[in-house]
């Protein structure tokens, strides 16, 4: 039987987020997004053995949360970029919709559990016709040869190949902070100084930009880059301060981000 991916407490990112929002917060009108983000990130760090897909899902939600939170850190709100504002709302609505759907089926699952428990108390009659009707029963073994019984035994005892499910039709965004870090560690020492906008201009997916930003924060924390922003909503200047020696990703302890 396959090992189900689960964390000690939460089974997935939605589970966790639902819990944080619906149960942790006492007064819903005083909900502090920052608290949720921090608790969420903390929980992610605690999770040691997530598989890649789940980790990506966690990360994706974390990225959205971080972006929402980042909004609060931004100085001034007068000249908000309408497109960005709209995109953020879309992002948030999407997350909200997914949370609601997840919650819906969680509730249905509970109802199913009750139905199954109730149904389990009754046992079906499955006796079949008695010996008086034996003659009528069609001979199901007609034409079956010993060789076929042998083949059936082999079929039954042969380990089945794990049913691999096709993934190619899914365009999952596999953004990963570790990979982003590796690229930054390769690029930044060479260019020395670059704006965030230029650094991310080739990215189509929003998540890739966010992950790149998280990687940059990591480097900032490690003292390898300086970040400057000359004016509100101006370009963020990134300056490599890590010297000329090559820094490898493994030298940075970033295990928690890896799948």
């Amino acid at each position: 039987m396959a090992v189900e991916v689960s964390t000690p407490v939460f089974e997935g990112p939605f589970d966790l987020l639902l819990h944080l929002i619906l149960k942790e917060q006492v007064d819903i009108h005083e909900v502090n997004l920052a608290t949720i983000v921090d608790a969420y990130l903390q929980e992610i760090e605690r999770l040691q053995s997530l598989d890649l897909e789940v980790a990506t899902e966690f990360l994706l939600i974390a990225a959205t949360l971080v972006e929402l939170k980042a909004r609060r850190l931004l100085p001034g709100r007068e000249d908000v970029d309408l497109d960005e504002e709209l995109a953020l709302w879309e992002e948030r609505d999407l997350l909200l919709a997914r949370l609601l759907e997840c919650k819906t089926f969680k509730d249905v699952g509970q109802v199913f559990g009750r139905l199954a428990d109730e149904a389990d108390r009754s046992y079906a009659r499955a006796c079949g016709p008695d010996e008086r009707f034996a003659e009528l029963m069609p001979d199901l073994l007609e034409g079956v040869k010993p060789r076929q019984v042998h083949a059936a035994y082999l079929r039954a005892t042969t380990p089945k190949p794990e049913p691999r499910l096709d993934l190619y039709h899914v365009t999952l965004v596999k953004a990963n902070v570790a990979d982003a870090l590796a690229e930054l560690l390769d690029e930044l020492p060479r260019v020395g100084r670059i704006t965030f906008r230029r650094l991310t201009r080739d990215f189509v997916e929003r998540l890739e930009v966010i992950v790149r930003f998280l990687a940059l924060l990591e480097l900032f924390k490690q003292g390898l880059v300086d970040l400057e922003q000359g004016e509100k909503f101006g370009d963020v200047q990134i300056v490599w301060t890590g010297g000329d020696d090559r820094v490898s990703v493994s030298a940075l302890t970033i295990d928690d981000y890896e799948g």
């Binding site: 039987m1 396959a2 189900e4 991916v5 089974e11 997935g12 939605f14 589970d15 929002i21 619906l22 917060q25 819903i28 909900v31 920052a34 949720i36 990130l41 760090e45 897909e53 974390a62 971080v66 929402l68 939170k69 909004r71 609060r72 709100r77 953020l88 948030r92 997350l95 909200l96 997914r98 609601l100 997840c102 819906t104 089926f105 509730d107 249905v108 699952g109 509970q110 199913f112 559990g113 139905l115 199954a116 389990d120 009754s122 046992y123 009659r125 499955a126 006796c127 079949g128 016709p129 008695d130 499910l165 096709d166 039709h169 899914v170 924060l217 990591e218 302890t253 928690d256 981000y257």
Partner: protein
């Protein structure tokens, strides 16, 4: 009235035949098959089964006649489970985990549905749960997505209906009944609120950069 009396006379024999057939069946017998054997319209069969079931209820028998998974069957009454379980040594039924029930719920309401669609609703990799549910016979592959990638599509089986004690997935309550109520929606909205300018100041003071995700 005379017509009805005549029907009654026929009914007596038909009802006895119905009981005899259901007694020797080893799985739920579909209405159509009963109708064919008894040479009665399906509607009449359904009606006879319904009145037979309520006659058993009234008489207080230890068994009942139920409509399940598209057919009729005899089963022991739920309240007598302690006795029956003493009789059936392997009687313990395996309970389904929360994850399995939630996945089953998604498959039941959204079938046919692909693995990745389930994953996007639950936010977790459903492969393990899907294998468990398939090996228990509650779901099965019901085809492939005609689109690119031709993903395997999943659906529920008659065994699922039997497990839940229902006749058809159409008997499940409409999904709208489960949509979270306004309070929950509001809580979630508040939780994911995009702050207005007024909020910004207070947040800045509480959120130090040290809250940024770290790996330590």
């Amino acid at each position: 009235m005379t017509e009805k009396t005549a029907t009654r006379a026929v009914d007596a024999e038909i009802v006895r035949a119905l009981e005899a057939i259901l007694l020797v069946a080893s799985e739920p017998v579909p209405t159509d098959l009963l109708a064919q054997i008894l040479e009665q319209p399906a509607a009449v069969v359904d009606q006879l089964c319904a009145s037979l079931a309520s006659a058993y209820d009234e008489a207080g028998h230890g068994f009942e006649l139920v409509r399940i998974a598209g057919g009729y069957r005899y089963q022991s009454r739920g309240d007598l489970a302690p006795y029956v379980e003493r009789f059936i040594l392997d009687g313990q039924r395996a309970r389904l985990s929360g994850a399995a029930l939630e996945t089953l719920a998604i498959v039941a309401y959204k079938q046919p549905i692909s693995r990745s669609q389930i994953a996007s609703i639950r936010g977790v990799d459903p492969d393990g749960v899907l294998r468990t549910l398939q090996s228990r016979g509650y779901i099965d592959q019901v085809g492939r997505d005609p689109g690119p990638g031709q993903a395997v599509m999943w659906g529920t089986t008659p065994a699922f209906l039997e497990k839940l004690g229902i006749n058809s997935v159409n008997d499940l309550p409409p999904i709208v009944e489960f949509v979270p109520d306004a309070e929950v929606v509001e809580a979630l909205e508040q939780g994911l609120r995009i702050p207005k300018a007024a909020d910004v100041v207070s947040d800045v003071t509480t959120d130090q950069p040290s809250n940024a995700p770290s790996s330590e």
